[in-house]
C-alpha cells in the first residue's frame, strides 16, 4: 500500500521536529541553571537571551510545525486511503520550511536575533531571521493546501459520506492556521522585513503588536490540534476500546477552529492602545474557548472508561487501573491530561482580565505554558511518535520499559519545574530575566524556587535524551514489525451520515469571517485613523 512514500515524508518531518526538540531541551537546562544564580561563572545576558530566543523558536515554531505536518501527511494518506494530493509540492514544503529554520538558526546562534520568539519591535533582528520565519510559514501553508485538497478530492468521489474524523481534524487545523497566520504574516511581510532591510524607516508598534496578537492565541491550538486529534482517533483503540462519540469530536474541532482565532486580543489586556470595551468582548471569547477542551475531556475520559471496563475494571475508579498502561500512547495521554487539569486552572486566572494584572509577564506565565505546552502537548507528541514509529519504520520499539520511563520522567520533571515557576510569578518575579540584580527582599524569597527548578530541568533533559535514544535505536535495530497498517478508533455508534455543517467547513469560514471583522476590524483600522508615530529600529 503506502507506495506514495508518505511514511518517508512523515518521518522526515518528525525527525526535524525531535532534533529541534532535543537541542532546545538542552538549552532549556542551561537557561534554568544560568538564571538560578548558583553558578556565577556562567552568567551572561548575551548568551542567555540568545539561548532563550533559540529555545523558544525551536520549541514553539519548529517542533510544533514539523510535528503537525508529519502527523497530517501520514494520517491523511492512511485514513483516506489515497496518495498525497501533490507529492512534490509536499516535499517542497518540507525543504522550504527546513531552509527557513536553518536561516533563522544562523541568525539566532550568532546572537543576531536575540529578540525572543515573539520578536516584538522596535527591537530589530537580522533580516535573515525574518526571511527564515517567512519560509517556515510558507512551508506550513503548503501543508494546509495539501490537507484541504485531499479532503476535497476524497469527498468528490464519495458524495455524502462522512469524512474520517482524523482528517476532519487535520483540515480544521489547516483552515484555522491559514486564518491565524495571516496576522503574523502581515506583520513580518509589511512591517518587520522591509523595516529591517531599511526600506521603511519606522513601524507602528501598536499595529505590529495587534497583528501578532491575532496569531498568538490560535497558534497554541495549532500546536495542540494533533494532540487532540490523537486523543480522539488513536487513543481509544490503543486503550483497547472505542471512541465514545464521533460527532462530539467534530463539534470540538469546529469550535477550536472558529473560537480560537478571534481571541488572541487577550494578549493585549495590558497594552494601552486598545479600548477596554474590546478587551472585555475578547474576554468572553476567551472563556468560550474552554468549552471544546471541556467537551474533549469528557469524551476522552468516557472513551477510556469504556476501555477499562471492557478489560474487566469495575467500580467507580477501578477501570483506571485496568487500562493498558504499558501502551505508550495511553500513559502519555494519562499523564498529559493530569498536567492539563493543573494548567487549565492557571489559564482561567490569566484569562480573567482583572486577575491577569497580578501575573502578567511574571514567571507565572512561562510556568503556565510549560505545564500545558511543554507538559501536556509535548507528552502527547511523544505518545504519537511512539505509536506511529513501528508503522513508519517497520520496526518495533526497541525497549518498551525505557519508553515508559521516559514518559514518567518527563511528567515528574515538568511538575518539579513548573510548580515553583508559578510560585515565583506570584512572588512578583518578572519573566525573561537572566539574573535578579534588584535590591528587594523578594530576591531572597525567590532563591529556593529557582534551585528546585534546576532539579526539574535535570529530569527533563534526561528524559529528552532518552526520547531521542528510544527513537534512534528503535528505527535502527528494533525487531521487524510486518504490520504497518495504522488503524483508527471506531466510535461506539457508527456514523453513517452527518448534517452538512459537521462534514465540511464552508459555513464555519463565513462565521469566522464576520467574527474577525467584528473582533479586529476597528482595533486595526484605528491605527490608520489616529495620528500615530512609528518607531525606529533598535539593536538588542
Amino acid at each position: 500500500m503506502n507506495n506514495d512514500k508518505a511514511p518517508a515524508l512523515a518521518l522526515a518531518n518528525l525527525w526535524v521536529a525531535f532534533t529541534a526538540f532535543l537541542a532546545a531541551a538542552l538549552l532549556g537546562l542551561y537557561q534554568v541553571v544560568e538564571r538560578s544564580g548558583l553558578f556565577p561563572a556562567i552568567e551572561s545576558p548575551a548568551w542567555y537571551f540568545a539561548a532563550v530566543s533559540t529555545h523558544g523558536v525551536l520549541m514553539g515554531f519548529v517542533l510544533t510545525t514539523f510535528m503537525v505536518m508529519g502527523f497530517g501527511y501520514y494520517t491523511a494518506t492512511t485514513s483516506l486511503a489515497q496518495p498525497l494530493w501533490n507529492r512534490s509540492l509536499a516535499w517542497l514544503s518540507f525543504w522550504l520550511a527546513l531552509v527557513g529554520v536553518l536561516l533563522a538558526a544562523y541568525a539566532l546562534l550568532t546572537g543576531q536575533a536575540s529578540v525572543l520568539y515573539t520578536f516584538y519591535p522596535p527591537l530589530r533582528a537580522h533580516p535573515i531571521f525574518y526571511i527564515g520565519a517567512v519560509l517556515l510559514i510558507v512551508g506550513s501553508w503548503i501543508w494546509c493546501l495539501e490537507m484541504i485538497m485531499m479532503m476535497i478530492t476524497w469527498k468528490r468521489s464519495r458524495p455524502g459520506q462522512p469524512v474520517p474524523l482524523v482528517m476532519f481534524g487535520n483540515v480544521a487545523n489547516a483552515l484555522m492556521w491559514l486564518w491565524a497566520s495571516a496576522g503574523v504574516a502581515a506583520e513580518v511581510l509589511f512591517q518587520l522585513l522591509p523595516w529591517s532591510l531599511g526600506i521603511i524607516d519606522t513601524v507602528d508598534v501598536g499595529l505590529a503588536r495587534t497583528l501578532f496578537a491575532w496569531t498568538l492565541h490560535a497558534i497554541v491550538y495549532f500546536w495542540l490540534f494533533p494532540a487532540y486529534i490523537a486523543l480522539y482517533t488513536l487513543l481509544p483503540r490503543a486503550a483497547g476500546g472505542r471512541l465514545f462519540s464521533d460527532p462530539m469530536g467534530r463539534v470540538s474541532f469546529i469550535m477550536l477552529m472558529v473560537i480560537s482565532v478571534p481571541i488572541g486580543f487577550h494578549h493585549l489586556y495590558m497594552d494601552p492602545f486598545q479600548e477596554t470595551g474590546f478587551k472585555l468582548m475578547h474576554m468572553f471569547g476567551t472563556f468560550m474557548v474552554a468549552i471544546p477542551s471541556l467537551l474533549t475531556g469528557f469524551t476522552i475520559i468516557a472513551s477510556l472508561e469504556i476501555s477499562g471496563r471492557l478489560q474487566g475494571g469495575t467500580g467507580l475508579f477501578g477501570w483506571i487501573g485496568a487500562l493498558p498502561w504499558r501502551e505508550p500512547l495511553v500513559t502519555a495521554a494519562g499523564l498529559g491530561l493530569l498536567l492539563l487539569a493543573g494548567g487549565g486552572f492557571g489559564g482561567i486566572i490569566n484569562a480573567s482580565y482583572a486577575m491577569n494584572t497580578l501575573v502578567h509577564n511574571t514567571a507565572w506565565v512561562p510556568g503556565h505554558f510549560h505545564l500545558i505546552f511543554g507538559g501536556t502537548v509535548a507528552l502527547i507528541y511523544f505518545g504519537i511518535a511512539y505509536h506511529l514509529w513501528p508503522k513508519l519504520t517497520g520496526r518495533s520499539l526497541r525497549s518498551p520499559g525505557l519508553v515508559l520511563t521516559q514518559l514518567w520522567l518527563w511528567a515528574i520533571g515538568m511538575i518539579v519545574t513548573a510548580v515553583p515557576w508559578h510560585w515565583l510569578g506570584l512572588l512578583g518575579q518578572p519573566r525573561r530575566i537572566s539574573s535578579t540584580p534588584y535590591d528587594t527582599p523578594l530576591v531572597a524569597a525567590w532563591q529556593p524556587f529557582e534551585t528546585l527548578m534546576v532539579f526539574g530541568a535535570l529530569l527533563l533533559s534526561l528524559s529528552a535524551i532518552l526520547l531521542f535514544y528510544n527513537l534512534v535505536t528503535s528505527q535502527a535495530s528494533g525487531k521487524s514489525n510486518p504490520d504497518t497498517t495504522l488503524a483508527y478508533a471506531e466510535p461506539v455508534h457508527a456514523v453513517l451520515s452527518l448534517p452538512r455543517p459537521l462534514n465540511g467547513f464552508v459555513i464555519w469560514n463565513w462565521i469566522l469571517l464576520f467574527w474577525m471583522i467584528a473582533a479586529y476590524g476597528y482595533p486595526i483600522v484605528q491605527f490608520f485613523l489616529l495620528d500615530t508615530y512609528g518607531a525606529f529600529p533598535w539593536n538588542v
Binding site: L123, A302, P499
Partner: protein, 160 residues
C-alpha cells in the same frame, strides 16, 4: 447522529459553568470598577524631552487640585525615571508613563500596578497602595540585553 443523554447533560453543565465564571468576573469588575490599563493616546517617543509633559524637569510626583496625585515617568533602557518615587499610602495615584525607546513593561510586585509601555503611546494607570513600604518597580518586558537591570524604587509613606 447519536447524542448520549449523559453527554447532553455535560454540554449544558459546561455552558452554565462558563456563563457563571464570566458572570462572576464581570460582576466583580463592575462592582469594584476594575479595568485593564487602556489609554488610546499617541506621542512621538523620539521627542519626549521636547514635550511639556515628559521633559526631564517635569517628571515626578505632582499634586492635583482634587487631592489625587499624578506621577509622570519616562521608561528608557535601562531604568524608570525619576529613579525614586515617593507617594502616600491610601491615596489614588495616576501613573503616566511613556517610553523613550523600545517596548517595556512595569510591574510593582504584589500590587496591581502593571502596564505595558509601548513606544508611540502613553500608558496611564490609576491605583492606590494599601501598605507602606519600599517597593521595586520592575521592567517586565524584554527590552534588550540589559533588561535584568531595568528597575527603580517606589516608596509608599504614611501621610504626615
Amino acid at each position: 447522529m447519536h447524542i448520549d443523554p449523559l453527554e447532553r447533560r455535560w454540554i449544558i453543565l459546561t455552558l452554565v459553568l462558563m456563563l457563571a465564571i464570566t458572570g462572576v468576573l464581570l460582576g466583580y469588575a463592575i462592582a469594584a470598577n476594575l479595568h485593564p490599563p487602556s489609554n488610546v493616546e499617541t506621542i512621538d517617543s523620539t521627542r519626549l524631552h521636547l514635550t511639556p509633559e515628559f521633559a526631564e524637569d517635569k517628571l515626578g510626583v505632582a499634586k492635583n487640585p482634587d487631592g489625587t496625585l499624578t506621577v509622570t515617568m519616562v521608561a528608557g533602557r535601562y531604568g524608570f525615571y525619576p529613579q525614586h518615587v515617593e507617594v502616600p499610602v491610601a491615596t489614588p495615584v495616576t501613573f503616566r508613563i511613556a517610553s523613550a525607546d523600545v517596548l517595556h513593561g512595569v510591574h510593582v510586585p504584589l500590587t496591581n500596578l502593571s502596564t505595558m509601555i509601548v513606544p508611540g503611546y502613553v500608558s496611564e494607570v490609576t491605583t492606590l497602595f494599601e501598605k507602606t513600604g519600599e517597593y521595586p518597580l520592575l521592567c517586565n518586558e524584554y527590552c534588550g540585553l540589559g533588561h535584568d537591570h531595568m528597575w527603580s524604587r517606589l516608596t509608599v509613606i504614611s501621610p504626615q
